[in-house]
């Protein structure tokens, strides 16, 4: 049992993180062409709405929720100190979880019932769908059966994750958690490890800089004003052709 715990909560996280980092950086640097969300809306443009939209908003909210609970545990606990606020947070999160599950199921059904989509679907897509559905179901299960996860995540799991990131893994608490929670943690690291090998990689390149970018972009191959000064016709920098 101890060996298993050691593997799943020490070895697996580190393997996943290393694979994620190295793989993503490698693909970003050398395989830019493969960085794509691989949208299939062009081949099927109606059913996608009922899958993609609920899934993406759900997963964004839940991902940020987990991230905030990890980064700011004290603030989350302070927020949860009043039962009403705790209820609001938990119910919202649960609704987003359901939205994510509905979206995923719709996406899976859409992908395997639309003949055209078969030709832009690979095995990894199925693996990712099933993993994400598993992960969402586990999450909802935990939220329903082990109430007030936002609070106990901050007290139990944040220290564990911190211990992973500070390279002093401490799994005494994690190894005592119920099986569903353990599966949820394992699922999370498996998904992280699969990011460089799947279309999930597109979440690393969200177009955030679009918000402050000017609309128009003009690019030169060279600093055009430096190229040539009409006053010094024989300057070192010769005029470039364009």
């Amino acid at each position: 049992m101890n060996a298993l715990n050691n593997f799943f909560f020490i070895a697996l996280p580190y393997m996943a993180l290393v694979i994620f980092l190295v793989g993503s950086i490698y693909r970003f640097t050398y395989k830019g062409f493969q960085f794509s969300s691989l949208s299939s809306q062009f081949l099927e443009g109606r059913k996608l709405f009922y899958g993609s939209v609920p899934f993406h908003w759900g997963v964004i909210f839940l991902f940020l929720g987990h991230l905030i609970a990890f980064l700011f545990p004290r603030e989350v606990l302070a927020w949860n100190s009043q039962p009403v606020r705790l209820m609001i947070l938990e119910i919202t999160a649960f609704i987003f979880g359901i939205s994510m599950l509905v979206g995923l199921v719709n996406l899976l059904v859409r992908r395997y019932t639309t003949p055209r989509l078969k030709f832009v679907t690979n095995k990894m897509d199925l693996v990712i769908y099933l993993l994400l559905i598993f992960q969402t179901v586990m999450g909802l299960w935990i939220a329903y059966n082990f109430r007030w996860g936002s609070s106990w995540f901050s007290t139990l799991l944040t220290p564990y994750l911190n211990s992973i990131f500070t390279l002093q893994p401490d799994i005494t608490v994690v190894s005592l958690l119920p099986l569903t929670v353990k599966l949820h943690i394992i699922g999370a690291f498996v998904i992280i490890g699969l990011i460089p090998f799947s279309r999930l990689i597109h979440f690393l390149v969200p177009p955030i800089d679009y918000i402050w970018r000017p609309y128009q972009q003009v690019r030169w191959y060279w600093g055009r004003r430096k190229v040539r000064s009409p006053r010094t016709p024989w300057s070192v920098q010769r005029p470039k052709n364009n």
Binding site: K31, G32, F33, Q34, F35, S36, S37, L38, S39, S40, Q41, F42, L43, E44, G45, L48, F49, S52, V53, F55, H56, W57, P115, R116, K118, F119, V120, N122, M124, F197, S198, R199, I201, H202, V205, P207, D209, Y210, I211, R213, Y215, Q216, Q217, V218, R219, W220, Y221, W222, R224, R225, K226, V227, R228, S229, P230, P239, K240, N241, N242
Partner: protein, 516 residues
């Protein structure tokens, strides 16, 4: 003054014969790949018709281009707020059925079928699924007014025409059409660039070519929505958007783009325009009726000393300025004011200009007596029993302008944002050139009459001769004035893509593999 140079184009619609050679040249070079089969970076449409993708001009459907609301110019169907909130599902994205499902035929069945009572047939199969399909749509499905009730009648440009005017247009005896070849306009205010969330699309400063960086494109597919001309295409296989690259590898080597080089009717002209980038913003924000004037105002006179000095300050090479001075595009667009941008009301400032068609629209037929001719002919040979000929008499020229086979409104909605006088003005010039040349070559037009028409059209005899030369006699070097690129740079910019032909087509040398 921020002077930049732009490789710009003029298409002379009077000369287009609708042979689609340009489309085929382009397809063979750039889009004969998986996922790109349905793309026609260059396509030729019959007008009136719904075009490709179907009804692309109707922005109530496709939400392309910019719109001006309360003095602010924003993207109609994309942009920062709309683009980012719709990123998971783009409600305005055309799907493949709006273009057509690419197909081929099972030709091998013709050869390999076993002997039987029936002739073997080559069934159409989808190029996406490989399964047999019923073809519902294909490239140039509405060519030469075929399927007019479904296509020609639904042309979005007809929306301002009364029912009676439309009826007249589609009377069998009066029916007329012309061709509209379209490529990417390489706009000055490109909507696709503005809409790209990942910043993959950019306009090259040196020559104004608008390109999509295939390594940065993330398939957010907003450019497809934003381009009002629907000239940005989504490759469903690679998950990247693609568009016309104005054959930049050819341009850099001093060659004309493939579609232009192969143009049988020689309708295409390509040359440098110098423009003032500082004026773009004000022009884009102006009222719809002023848009074309402001657009032409951006284009600078390459002979002006001030312009030349400012251009050199900006690093525009002498050879480029020289090319700008000999540019056929400058002559058509600015000197003679004969060419107009397509759908200026989309506010993208397209840098591809069209000379409006005169002949198919103006020409009427009249009954003539052919008996003399017919008698001379060998009765076994072709017998000319048709007594109707094109009426080329020019006496009632200005009178017939209002009785053209196409309502002026139609062409105005296509080429001048609704301004009918602008089209009339071009037609007068085109007709005046014909009358002037008839005086010179045939001599049956009086000098007074010819001079008067020229004066009324606002051009001189020298200009008319220039227009005639560039329209009718122009050689390859006259039609394509491409500024020379330094050879060493051309090599640097262009990798040899022959090795990976059929897989890439963008100057990327590595093998293209779809994302996982």
């Amino acid at each position: 003054m921020d002077v930049r140079s732009q490789i710009s184009m003029v298409f002379h619609l009077d000369k287009c014969i609708g042979c689609h050679t340009c489309s085929i040249a382009c397809k063979n070079i750039w889009t004969d790949r998986k996922g790109a089969e349905y793309m026609w970076w260059n396509n030729v449409e019959t007008k009136p018709g719904t075009g490709y993708p179907t009804k692309w001009e109707d922005q109530n459907i496709y939400r392309g281009g910019w719109q001006k609301t309360n003095g602010k110019v924003t993207l109609k169907g994309a942009g920062k707020r709309r683009g980012l909130t719709n990123i998971f599902y783009n409600p305005n994205l055309p799907v493949i059925d709006d273009y057509y499902e690419p197909f081929t035929y099972k030709y091998l069945d013709l050869i390999e079928s076993p002997e039987g009572d029936d002739q073997p047939t080559a069934r159409p199969v989808s190029l996406i699924t490989g399964k047999p399909i019923d073809i519902k749509m294909g490239p140039n499905w509405d060519d030469d007014l075929s399927g007019t009730p479904d296509y020609g009648r639904n042309d979005p440009n007809l929306k301002n025409l009364s029912a009676a005017e439309q009826e007249v247009m589609f009377q069998l005896e009066r029916m007329a059409f012309f061709y509209l070849p379209r490529i990417c306009n390489h706009c000055l205010n490109p909507a696709c660039v503005g809409a790209c969330p990942s910043g993959a699309i950019y306009k090259r400063g040196e020559d104004g070519v608008v390109l999509i960086n295939q390594e940065v494109c993330r398939a957010w597919r907003m450019c497809v929505t934003a381009c009002p001309y629907k000239k940005s295409y989504y490759n469903w296989h690679t998950g990247k958007s693609e568009k016309c690259i104005l054959c930049f590898p050819r341009l850099e080597a001093g060659l004309a783009p493939a579609c232009m080089h192969s143009c049988v009717g020689r309708i295409r002209y390509l040359g440098v325009l110098l423009y003032d980038a500082d004026k773009i913003e004000a022009a884009v924000h102006d009222d719809e009726k002023n848009l074309i004037d402001r657009h032409l105002d951006i284009i600078l006179d390459p002979f002006d000393e001030k312009v030349i000095r400012a251009a050199k300050m900006n690093g525009v090479a002498d050879s480029t300025i020289h090319a700008a001075q000999f540019s056929p595009v400058y002559k058509y667009v600015k000197e003679w004011k004969l060419a107009l941008p397509l759908h200026a009301e989309f506010r993208t400032l397209p840098m591809l200009f069209y000379v409006p068609p005169l002949l198919p629209v103006m020409a009427t037929v009249k009954q003539v007596d052919n008996s003399d001719q017919a008698e001379k002919m060998n009765p076994i040979a072709k017998y000319w029993d048709d007594n109707w000929l094109y009426d080329t008499s020019t006496k009632e020229l200005w009178g017939t302008l209002d009785q053209v086979r196409f309502p002026l409104k139609y062409l105005a909605s296509l080429l001048s944002a609704g301004n009918e006088d602008m089209i009339k003005d071009k037609w007068k010039k085109l007709m005046a050139v014909r009358i002037h040349r008839r005086r010179v070559t045939v001599g049956d037009v009086s000098n007074e009459k010819a001079d008067e028409t020229l004066r009324e059209a606002g051009i001189t005899a020298e200009m008319a001769d220039g227009i005639f030369y560039l329209t009718a006699l122009a050689k390859f070097e006259d039609r394509f004035v491409i500024p020379p690129a330094h050879r060493e740079q051309a090599i640097e910019m262009l990798d040899f893509t022959g090795d990976t032909k059929g897989e890439v087509g963008f100057g990327i040398k590595s093998k293209i593999r779809r994302g996982l």
